[in-house]
């Protein structure tokens, strides 16, 4: 049943790309860029749900550190952005705060937040995904799930990054509220994993570089990097994400991702 759905989704997304190709008459580079991204997305499909712990280490120019601890649960959604539940552990004064997000490729995400100190769930209406996440150098849009429809593409060539021969693809965000004019992404030939991303701000100057390292494979299929290192070139600050306790197919259901589940999330 689920497999059927998967096939359907793949076919429809391919159809979508074919139709858009016929309408806009993509150049060879654009088509190749799109193909690489579709392939990359496809290769990771079928993880159903996941849960992981994230340690966020913020550093300023002087090397002063500040730490955040978060648990993230995600549910794979076909034909749409994924659903995610973010539970904050540290700093202590935000412990128990839970954030539920239904991401969508084009329309605004739906977001709810449970504030334990207020004991209430609030729906947050905001199109902004470009601001810093918990004061870090990651924007919310950098952390949300990758969807093919979020960008248009252009293949730039091959380069070796982190010892891996990679496709170099330029991605242009479709959302006009994005904080970027473009991202340059390096995706390796061997496993279609993202190795490095460069972010260009609204005036098209280099803002940040994100590098992925310590990739591990789960369930013989899904590759996840243990470490993501983001450096902001304009303010000299950096943020490192350390992932641990990756688990897949833990049996999370749609009902674990709704307003009511927020209050009991931990």
């Amino acid at each position: 049943m689920l497999n059927k759905k998967l096939v359907l989704a793949t076919v429809s997304s391919l159809l979508l790309s074919v139709t858009s190709a016929s309408v806009y008459a993509l150049t060879a580079e654009e088509q190749k860029g799109l193909d690489i991204s579709v392939e990359s997305k496809k290769k990771d499909e079928g993880w159903k749900d996941s849960s992981a712990d994230m340690l966020m280490i913020l550093k300023n120019k002087q090397g002063q550190e500040s730490i955040r601890e978060i648990k993230i649960k995600s549910l794979e959604i076909k034909n749409d952005g994924d659903k995610s539940l973010t539970i904050f552990n540290k700093p202590r004064d935000v412990k128990g705060t839970a954030f539920l997000s239904f991401s969508h490729p084009i329309e605004a995400d739906e977001q709810w937040l449970f504030l334990p100190a207020l004991k209430r769930v609030k729906r947050i209406s905001s199109r902004n995904k470009s601001g810093p996440f918990m004061g870090s150098e990651f924007a919310f849009e950098d952390l949300s799930s990758f969807e093919v429809e979020k960008y248009t593409y252009k293949y730039l060539g091959d380069e070796t990054v982190n010892g891996e021969v990679s496709f170099k693809v330029e991605q242009y965000p479709v959302d006009e509220n994005s904080g970027y004019t473009r991202r340059v992404v390096w995706i390796d030939h061997s496993e279609y994993r993202v190795q490095k991303v460069e972010f260009y701000d609204r005036k098209d100057s280099l803002l940040k570089t994100l590098t992925f390292s310590d990739y591990k494979q789960y369930l013989d299929k899904h590759w996840r990097a243990d470490i993501q290192h983001m450096v902001n070139h304009q303010n000299g600050k950096s943020t490192e994400l350390k992932w641990s306790n990756y688990q897949f197919k833990t049996g999370l259901k749609d009902s674990d991702f709704n307003r009511n589940s927020l209050k009991r999330a931990r």
Binding site: S66, D93, T97, L115, S125, S126, G179
Partner: protein, 779 residues
């Protein structure tokens, strides 16, 4: 040695000219390396405590270099669909400014409000195509009641708004970064005006100020230096009536300037507002040497000497005095090395180099040129000499009255010195004709100015800012600041938290208060930060682990002392009300407020040292301890009178004026040297009476003194026309001091000498009988 010098110059004039010109060309090539530093921070030494405090604050929070577009709709109402749309466009365009990291405007303000159980975060002005009158009224009401916006982004009357662009200069190539930003914002402004002709736009902010430093200096150099050359040519041409002399003098000036600026380039100097006035000053000072040589030479020629002999004698007579005056002038300028502000040290060193080079050129290439070029001496100008003799007679006859009158005048003027007040308002460093000044004045009048203080309140504990006691302290402090009449605006995180608390309680105005638990405020901030767009985050108010927050207070225009007072009152507030927090105060305004005082203290040491050195030199040169001491009076009185008159005229003393005493000391000393040396020469070598000696001194150097004074006063008055007020005031006060010095040397010093030097009283009768023959030969 002096004879040898000219005999060599006279023999090989062409070689001397060639060697000097080669020297100039090689040194001058360094001028290509000279660059202009366009950053107000150059005014502060590396160890300046206020600069250090400000820089460490900038590292913790984000930088505050900015450009402000001041948008003034001609119909006087920002809140129309049309104007809001154009401001929205301007906001978007501002993101394209190089190095911009943040843009704040009335349209992209992150408006938060509640709808049932929803919390909405969006731009205050979203779509402008179908805004109803109600929508517009709503926007206006939100904007005018938002403490973050009022007086900062929107004027109280709703008739002016600001689009503020924060830039973070990477500092990799500082010389091109600021001009790049300025060029970009000017292009945006031009485009905006073309598309919205019913608006007026002005540009202010730190970047525009830094740009104005360069532009002001460049436009000065383009207008003031040619003007100054004109003054020199006209003065020498009219007073000395010589074409060759004028040409040769202009050449010496050009060579002195080019060589100095070239050496500056080789030595790694950079230009700043004050040091860019070095060429004008060198130009002025170099003229004096040439005038002395020309005057003596023409005197000799009129006495029948041939040209070469006349030049040789002139060099012989003048070598020591102009060497001495050049040295004292250089010492005066070198005293600026004690200044706390590097640009003034550079200015002092450059002018000192220039003055010494001018001396070298005036005893080498100058006589060589005069030897080679044709020189015709016209008829004597006896009438001028008569006027000096008349002045001498007048001074001698009325010495007692003059002494009393001048003493009273000196004391009276000096009594106004305390009327001077320290004030370094960097906005006022520029003339009203400079667009940056006009824009900032306008912004000051309608919203708030650039007089700001940043206050970092630290808990030393991660998440410490969320504690209710901390928030209450910060909020109380902000309220206390807002109640003060001089406060225009206070930016504080507590306003945002109060607003969020209200939003989370269905926008109930009763909930516009601080959250009452650490967790609640932490969770509000988490929520809020997640909903903000790129560039509008809280990193400019909070540090990375939320252990400190920054309050920015903007004040009405005030003097340095008033600002320093407010600073100490703010410190007192924290000491009394929240002693548990470490608090730092810093801002460019504070840096400038303190620099005047620091600079005056350090310049006092430098000036005293220069005074001691110069007095010792004079003592040796005049071969008399007594006259060394007497010379102190005419050397110090001019500055006292000038600052007294300044107290009456303006009363505002800043960085630029705090170096004037040291600088003028070396120049006014020259008059005293010339006058006293002739006086002593008459008394010692000619056995003249005090009165005769005074008369002799007037006859011999009176004319040269007033010509050089005229040139110096004219030169520094030209500098006083600068659009860079720091230089203009420095020029004006220097011109005043030099003029006063001449008056003192003519009207106060002789009566003083006659009162103190009474030994040969008998001679008075012989003078009255007209037996004294006015000495005609120069010593």
């Amino acid at each position: 040695m002096r004879d040898k010098l000219y005999s060599f110059v006279g023999k090989y004039p062409i070689w001397v000219i060639l060697v000097c010109i080669t020297l100039m060309v090689f040194a001058g090539a360094g001028a290509q390396k000279l660059v202009f530093k366009n950053d107000y921070r150059v005014f502060f030494g590396e160890e300046n405590p206020q600069l250090t405090a400000f820089e460490s604050m900038q590292k913790i929070y984000n930088k505050t270099d900015n450009v402000a577009f001041i948008v003034i709709p001609k119909d006087g109402n920002v809140f129309t669909a049309k104007h809001l749309e154009s401001i929205k466009g301007l906001t978007k365009a501002s993101w394209q400014v190089p190095f911009s990291t943040r843009v704040d405007s009335i349209t992209n303000f992150q408006h938060t409000f509640a709808e049932y159980d929803d919390m909405i975060v969006e731009d205050l002005v979203m779509k402008t195509d179908n805004l109803s009158a109600t929508d517009l009224e709503k926007i206006k009401q939100v904007a005018l009641s938002e403490p973050l916006l009022l007086n900062k982004i929107i004027a109280k009357g709703g008739h002016v708004s600001v689009v503020n662009v924060t830039v973070q200069l990477p500092g990799i190539d500082p010389l091109t970064e600021t001009p790049q930003v300025a060029e970009s914002v000017r292009a945006i402004k031009a485009k905006y005006l073309a598309e919205n002709p019913d608006n007026q736009v002005m540009l202010s902010g730190m970047i525009m100020m830094n740009t104005s430093f360069t532009e002001s200096a460049l436009s000065d150099n383009a207008t003031l230096i040619p003007l100054m050359f004109l003054v020199v040519i006209v003065t020498i041409g009219l007073l000395l009536r010589t074409i060759t002399g004028t040409v040769a003098t202009v050449l010496i000036i050009i060579m002195s300037i080019v060589t100095t600026m070239g050496l500056a380039g080789w030595l790694g100097f950079y230009l700043t507002g004050p040091s860019a006035s070095a060429p004008t000053m060198i130009l002025t000072l170099a003229v004096a040497d040439c005038i002395h040589i020309l005057t003596s030479m023409f005197y000799e020629m009129r006495q029948g000497a041939d040209k070469r002999t006349a030049i040789a004698r002139s060099i012989k007579i003048n070598f020591q005095p102009i060497f001495l005056t050049s040295i004292t002038t250089a010492i005066g300028f070198l005293s600026m090395n004690f200044s706390d502000s590097p640009p003034f040290r550079d200015l002092g060193n450059l002018v000192a180099i220039g003055v010494m080079l001018a001396f070298v050129f005036s005893v080498t290439i100058f006589p060589a040129l005069l030897t080679v070029l044709p020189v015709n001496v016209k008829a004597k100008q006896e009438n001028k000499k008569d006027s000096m003799a008349k002045l001498a007679d007048f001074v001698i006859d009325n010495r007692k009255l003059l002494l009393i009158f001048t003493s009273v005048f000196i004391l009276l003027s000096a009594s106004f010195i305390p009327k001077n007040e320290l004030n370094d308002d960097f906005v006022k460093y520029f003339d009203k004709s400079v667009p940056y000044r006009a824009a900032t004045d306008y912004m000051q009048d309608n919203l708030s100015g650039m007089m700001a203080v940043e206050i970092s309140v630290k808990t030393g504990k991660a998440s410490g800012i969320n504690s209710p006691s901390y928030l209450h302290a910060v909020s109380d402090f902000s309220d206390w600041l807002r109640d003060r009449p001089e406060t225009d605006h206070v930016n504080t995180i507590t306003d945002t938290l109060k607003r969020l608390n209200k939003n989370m309680h269905g926008d109930d105005p009763n909930w516009y208060k601080l959250p009452d638990s650490q967790e609640l405020s932490a969770q509000y901030l988490l929520l809020y930060e997640m909903s903000l767009p790129y560039g509008l985050d809280l990193n400019n108010q909070l540090n990375v682990d939320k252990s400190s927050s920054r309050i920015v207070a903007t004040f009405k225009n005030m003097t340095s002392n008033q600002l320093i007072n407010i600073e100490s009152e703010m410190r007192k507030w924290f000491k009394e009300n929240a002693p548990q927090y470490e608090v730092d105060f810093a801002s460019p305004s504070l840096m400038f407020a303190h620099i005047g005082k620091r600079n005056i203290t350090s310049m006092l040491v430098g000036t005293t040292l220069a005074l001691v050195l110069i007095s010792i030199l004079l003592g040796f040169a005049l071969k008399s301890v007594k006259f060394g001491f007497i010379s102190l009076l005419p050397n110090l009185i001019p500055a006292a009178i000038a600052f007294g008159l300044w107290g009456l005229y303006s009363g505002q003393v800043g960085l630029g004026l705090s170096v004037v005493i040291g600088m003028t000391l070396g120049i006014v000393v020259d008059d005293t040297v010339h006058f006293l040396s002739k006086y002593i020469h008459a008394k010692r070598d000619k056995n003249a009476s005090t009165y005769e000696a005074v008369h002799y001194a007037f006859d011999n150097v009176g004319r040269a003194l007033w010509i050089t004074t005229f040139v110096l006063v004219a030169g520094f008055s030209v500098l006083a026309q600068s659009t860079f007020r720091m230089n203009a005031e420095m020029g004006l006060l220097t011109a005043l001091t030099i003029f006063v010095a001449l008056v003192v040397d003519f009207l106060f010093l002789p009566p003083l000498l006659m009162a103190l030097d009474k030994k040969k009283k008998k001679q008075r009768e012989s003078l009255k009988n007209g037996e004294v023959e006015p000495s005609t030969s120069v010593s």
